[in-house]
């Protein structure tokens, strides 16, 4: 599906409808092109076209996500919090195009990956290497922040998103405020007794530039 914007005054001046009708009649006599309406328009206006910004085409009203890679966007996909012993404490997701089929398995992969990456970095790098920070693949980028007490905060985003250590550090502070200091929370539990943490987390992430999805720019 496409979007076309027409200047109707100039359309009438050019007698465009009439000319297009002639082209179509010609096509009916002798097959000139295969698909219906676009070729005569192209024939008529081939060098008088201005391209619109892709965001004009809100194809699928927000349900289609296959936008060109070179479009300015910075998306967030997942947020995880791991406690001691690789336990998944919190998992949030947005904008994923590839659904997670098994959350337990995924969290095992991610937590295992973090441990492996940390030891890999410490062995491969110069002597005083402490922590692994981030990796990126062509599809996504994973940022990790590990505290001395063994909590890990992980964010997966689009590869163009810059370093997020500060952001994860602030999330850690929110975590300490609303989870660790919560008298109802037992260390190692999941976060049912801490709904405030989730709301604070969401409101904090919404202030980040990478949280904006492309549709927000269209609505604005």
């Amino acid at each position: 599906a496409g979007v076309m914007v027409i200047d109707l005054e100039r359309w009438r001046q050019r007698h465009a409808s009439q000319l297009i009708a002639e082209w179509i009649a010609m096509n009916a006599r002798r097959r000139l092109w295969l698909h219906g309406s676009q070729p005569p328009l192209l024939l008529l206006f081939h060098d008088e076209v201005v391209s619109l910004h892709w965001s004009w085409n809100v194809d699928g009203l927000g349900h289609r996500l296959n936008y060109p890679k070179n479009v300015q966007r910075a998306w967030i996909y997942n947020f995880y919090t791991f406690g001691r012993g690789r336990k998944l404490l919190c998992r949030e997701e947005w904008n994923r195009t590839r659904a997670c089929r098994d959350i337990a398995e995924e969290s095992k992969y991610v937590s295992g990956l973090l441990i492996t990456l940390k030891s890999f970095a410490q062995q491969l790098g110069p002597p005083r290497t402490q922590a692994f920070l981030a990796y990126s693949t062509p599809q996504y980028k994973l940022h990790s922040f590990e505290t001395i007490s063994g909590y890990r905060f992980v964010l997966t985003t689009d590869p163009s998103v810059p370093d997020q250590q500060e952001c994860l550090r602030e999330i850690y502070e929110i975590f300490v405020e609303h989870v660790i200091k919560n008298p109802l929370y037992q260390l190692g539990d999941e976060l049912e007794h801490c709904p405030v943490f989730k709301t604070k987390l969401h409101s904090f992430l919404m202030t980040r530039p990478f949280f904006a999805s492309p549709f927000q720019s269209v609505v604005a």
Binding site: R98, L113, L124, P126, Y140
Partner: protein, 165 residues
Amino acid sequence: MLLDGGCGLTFHSESEWILDLQPRDSRCWWILNKLEVNFHYQGSSQLSSNDKIRLSSTFHGISAIAAQISPVKRSGGPFSFLQTTGIRTLDADTFRLQCFHTATGVKIFCVMLPPYVDADILLRQVYSHYSDYVLKNPFYELDMPIRCEPFEKEVQRSLSEFQGR
């Protein structure tokens, strides 16, 4: 920049073997592992050849798992199967690893100290030397360790050119 910091260069393919080479001079030495060529300047690494094999295998596995847990589908298109999905860059607090994935499964990666530059050109040059001096060598068997003097010379040259910038 890189000269002061030191740079390690490693590449690794899916099957593995090991070979050690004598150090050329006191400042740099390298080891050829399976399809790995390892340069370390100024002794910035104390890894044994076993360690290097182990670390490269680890990296290979890490890259595969990272591709598996991707939250995003591979973008479609006629040649999407050629699109690589492994780790391109890996940042730690003291170094950066940049990896170049070839369409045949060979991974060429280098370890850089700050200030970081984009080593993509260097990695591609090493790949082109690999295909020129190693794969076209009639005595070289695929997936065996690399013992090609012209290859090492060319890689050394590319490395010094790159570092000289």
